[in-house]
């Protein structure tokens, strides 16, 4: 059962490595947009610092959304999803493996690159640690929740817009508590509260989302 998890994790990481250009595009998008913000709004550090937590979190969300539909779409097109569906093992484990691979290719690099963006957006010094911590937990939630939406829309030809509409409401709590973590730290309050809620959301997502995505794949693949 665990072998389904690690097999698909390794497979998807290998595939992402073979298509490095595609895999890097969410990160490039994340960095590019965040570079444009000071140019478009103001280079004044006091005003940038005010909006920095929100901007970084919105960008992380959009970067995830940009790449999440590919999580099952490629496998659907070449028939490997069908092979996965008729394997005798529990479907949720490979789905969790694929989602973990997606996080390692998008969420993790975003988290690691975020201090750089903090510098560009003049994030106050006390905001860095909470930002990295909240992004590490929060991007995991985004990948997991997104996998359910991707599974529901996998058989649609143009599922991109529907996918955004489906997962956006579920992303809202993540972005609220994510940016609240950073904002509380900047304002000098304790930031462990919102971070703990993010952690709880991640735990719930790990437990529930693979099951929901597996169920959704079974329903949508019947066409």
């Amino acid at each position: 059962m665990a072998s389904g998890f690690s097999a698909y994790l390794r497979r998807d990481l290998l595939l992402a490595y073979r298509r490095r250009g595609d895999a890097a595009s969410p990160l490039i998008f994340f960095i590019m947009v965040s570079t444009l913000i000071p140019l478009g709004i103001t280079p004044e550090s006091a005003r940038l610092a005010e909006i920095a937590p929100g901007i970084i979190w919105v960008m992380a969300l959009l970067a995830t959304l940009l790449s999440i539909d590919a999580i099952f779409a490629n496998d659907y097109q070449d028939g490997s999803l069908e092979q996965l569906l008729i394997s005798p093992h529990l479907l949720a484990m490979p789905v969790l493996g694929k989602t973990a691979a997606h996080w390692m290719v998008t969420g993790l690099p975003l988290t690691l690159a975020s201090p750089l963006l903090g510098v560009m957006l003049s994030l106050p010094a006390q905001g860095y640690v909470p930002m990295v911590a909240s992004l590490a937990l929060g991007t995991g939630c985004l990948s997991l929740i997104g996998s359910v939406g991707a599974a529901l829309t996998v058989s649609l030809r143009k599922g991109g817009l529907l996918l955004s509409l489906l997962v956006m409401p579920l992303y809202m709590p993540v972005i609220i508590f994510g940016s609240a973590t950073v904002q509380s730290a900047i304002d000098g309050f304790a930031w462990s509260g919102p971070l703990a809620i993010l952690g709880a959301m991640l735990a719930a997502s790990i437990a529930l989302c693979p099951l929901a995505a597996a169920g959704a794949l079974r329903i949508t693949s019947v066409n």
Binding site: D78, S80, E82, Q83, I86, P88, V222
Partner: protein
């Protein structure tokens, strides 16, 4: 007590968008048998094979594996089948050997041996996007040498395969049924296999309302 067939299909029907795809189908396949599914384009051969793999759910009728409906022995059934569809599940960005490693479920251990069995020796480390359509198909067919599955469902396995490849595949099927396996395949080719049994998909009489 009547002899139990390995796989029995009883009055199998499938509806899509309130349309019957084909007339109810009955057939039985036993160990050592090859069943060829015939029928014109659009008669539901692929649908039938996907129903057999449980990728689709029948609207009525039953699929019985070794005396038990497959809904009751799902794990055993799915562990014993191999399905090769139109879309071959070959990842273009992986090499031939890597592809096989993901798909293998037993049989020959070495991807090298399986690839040489389909005459792709030396292509182990070539990314599949550099292979021709026929060679990609052969990579998918190499799975047949790396499996312990008893029951094979092959959907148009001869697509894009040259004459030599066809006879190679026929040999592979003969070997498999000799070992006590069974095959259900759809193809428009005339196969040179002794004891080949046939069943046909007939488009439903009133292609329309129920």
């Amino acid at each position: 007590m009547p002899k139990l067939s390995l796989l029995t299909v009883e009055q199998l029907c499938f509806e899509r968008d309130d349309r019957h795809t084909f007339e109810p189908i009955d057939f039985a396949v036993d160990r050592g048998e090859i069943m060829q599914v015939e029928g014109p384009n659009g008669s539901g051969k692929t649908t039938l094979l996907r129903l057999l793999t449980t990728a689709l759910q029948p609207s009525s009728g039953a699929i019985i594996y070794a005396g038990q409906p497959i809904t009751l022995c799902r794990y055993e059934y799915l562990s014993d089948i191999l399905y090769l569809g139109h879309q071959s599940a070959v990842k273009m960005n992986l090499t031939a050997a890597e592809n096989l490693r993901w798909m293998a479920t037993g049989g020959i251990d070495s991807t090298r041996d399986a690839l040489s069995a389909v005459q792709l020796s030396g292509y182990d480390d070539v990314p599949c996007y550099n292979l021709s359509a026929g060679q990609q198909r052969r990579v998918a067919l190499a799975r047949l040498f790396m499996t312990n599955a008893k029951l094979w469902f092959l959907d148009e396995p001869f697509t894009a395969i040259d004459k030599q490849g066809v006879s190679l595949l026929e040999n592979c099927l003969r070997e498999h049924v000799k070992r006590g396996g069974a095959v259900v395949l759809s193809t428009h080719q005339d196969l040179a296999i002794d004891g080949l049994r046939k069943t046909s998909c007939v488009p439903h009489a009133d292609q329309g309302a129920l």
